[in-house]
Symmetry: D2
Subunit: 133 residues, 4 copies
C-alpha cells in the first residue's frame, strides 16, 4: 500500500543498510510515531489523565525520535553513518521505554495496548536493521 519499498529500490544504494531490513524499519518508525501521537491525544481525553502524564511524555518524545529516524534512514545516497546509527539506537531506547509504560496501562486503555504493539514492532525493526549491517 505504501510506496516505501518502491522508492528505496529506485534510489542509489550507497547506504550500509540492507534494503530488506530498511524498508520495514522506516515504515515501523512512521507507524510508531503516528501511534504515539494518537496515544498521547487519547490519554489526554481520559478522565484519569493525571495518572497517564508519564505515558504522554514518553509518547511525545518517542514520536519525535521515530519521525527523525524514519527520515534520516530514508536518505540512502547521502548518509552520515555514525550519527544515523546512534539515532537508531536512541529510537530503540525510546520505543522500549514507551512500550514498557504503555504496557502498564494496556488492560485499562485500548490505545495504550495498540501503541505498545507499535512501539515493540518498531523496537524490533530497528534492532533487526542494526543486526543486518
Amino acid at each position: 500500500m505504501t510506496h516505501t519499498a518502491a522508492m528505496l529500490e529506485t534510489a542509489p544504494s550507497a547506504s550500509r543498510y540492507d534494503l530488506g531490513a530498511l524498508s520495514p524499519c522506516i515504515e515501523s518508525c512512521l507507524d510508531c510515531a503516528q501511534a504515539c501521537t494518537t496515544c498521547a491525544d487519547a490519554c489526554l481525553a481520559e478522565e484519569i489523565v493525571g495518572k497517564l502524564t508519564r505515558c504522554i511524555g514518553l509518547n511525545l518524545t518517542c514520536a519525535d525520535v521515530c519521525a527523525a529516524t524514519a527520515f534520516a534512514l530514508s536518505r540512502r545516497a547521502t548518509s552520515d553513518d555514525l550519527a544515523v546509527r546512534t539515532l537508531v539506537d536512541a529510537c530503540v531506547q525510546a520505543c522500549a521505554g514507551c512500550a514498557e509504560e504503555c504496557e502498564h496501562h494496556a488492560e485499562m486503555h485500548a490505545h495504550c495496548r495498540v501503541c505498545a504493539e507499535a512501539c515493540r514492532a518498531c523496537e524490533q525493526a530497528c534492532r533487526e536493521l542494526l543486526a543486518s549491517v
Copy 2:
C-alpha cells in the same frame, strides 16, 4: 500492517473528521513524506542533479508539510479545527506542486515517477478528507 486505524478507533472521536477518510489520509501523508525524502536524496545522486534542484526543493517542503499534517490529524480529541483545516489545504497544494514537478521527470527517473504517485495519492486523500466534513 500499520496500527493507524486501530489507534484512531481507540481514541475519543471529538474531531470533525470522518474516521473512514481520516485513517487513509494520515497514512498517505506519512507515505508521501517518506517518498519525498527519498526522492530528494535520489535526485542528489543523479548526474544531472543541476536540473533537479527545483524538484528537490519541492520534495523537501512537501515532506515537511505532509509530516506536520499527519501528526496534527492524529490528534482527534484535542484539535484546532481551523488551523488543521488550513494545514490540510497547504498539504493539498504542496502535494500537487511536487507531483507536477516530479511528473516532468517521471520518464527519466523512476524515483520521480513513484514519488509523483505518492504525492497524487496524498493530494487525493486530503481532498477526500476535506470533502467528508
Copy 3:
C-alpha cells in the same frame, strides 16, 4: 546570537519574502515551537492537568505547524509559494488559537503566560511576513 539572518543573507534570494520580515518570522516560529513544547510538558506536571488538556493539545499542534513553517520558510531558493503561503496562514491560526487558550490560564500558570507571549509574537511575525509581499 542566532545564525538565521546571516544564513538567509548568504542564500540566493529567489523567494517572494522580504528578508527583513523573513528572518524574525523564522526565529519566532522556532521560538514558538519550543515554547509550546515546554508549555505542554509543564501542563502535564500540574496537579490540575485535567483542566489543561485542551491547552496541551493546542500546544502540540501549534508546535508542529510552527516547526514546519520555520523550515519551509528557510528555503528561499527553491520554494513552493502557494503552499508556503497557506502554511503561514495555518501558522497564524494555530498561534492565535493556542495563545487564546494559554491566556485563559496565564494568571495561574507562568508557563501559559510566557507561552501566550511567544504565540502572539509568532502570530504577529507571520502576519507581517504576509503583509510584506
Copy 4:
C-alpha cells in the same frame, strides 16, 4: 529575544539536565536546524551543486536530528533520560560530521561557512549539556 529560558524556568525541573546548560543547548539545536535547512537550499542554488550533494545530505539529516533533540530536551517534566541522552549523542555526531563537510566549502561558499559555525556551536552546546550531568 527568545522565550526559551523563561519557559524552562517556569516548568517543573524533574530532568537531569542543568538549566544553565539546557537552555543554550535547545537554542543551539534550533539554530543549527535552521542553518542546515538554509545551507541545503543555498547549495541547491549553486552552479556547482554536483559537488555539494554530500553537504546537502548531511545538512538535511543534521537538521532532522537537531530539531528532534531540541524538542525532546524541551520536555523536562516527562523525559526518557536514556533515549534523550543517546539522541544528544547522535546530535553531537551529526553536527560534527556536517561541520566538517561544510568547512571544506567555507572559503568558496559563505553559507557553508556560517552553517559550519552553527554546527560547531551546537556540537559544543550538546557536549556541555552532557558534561553538566
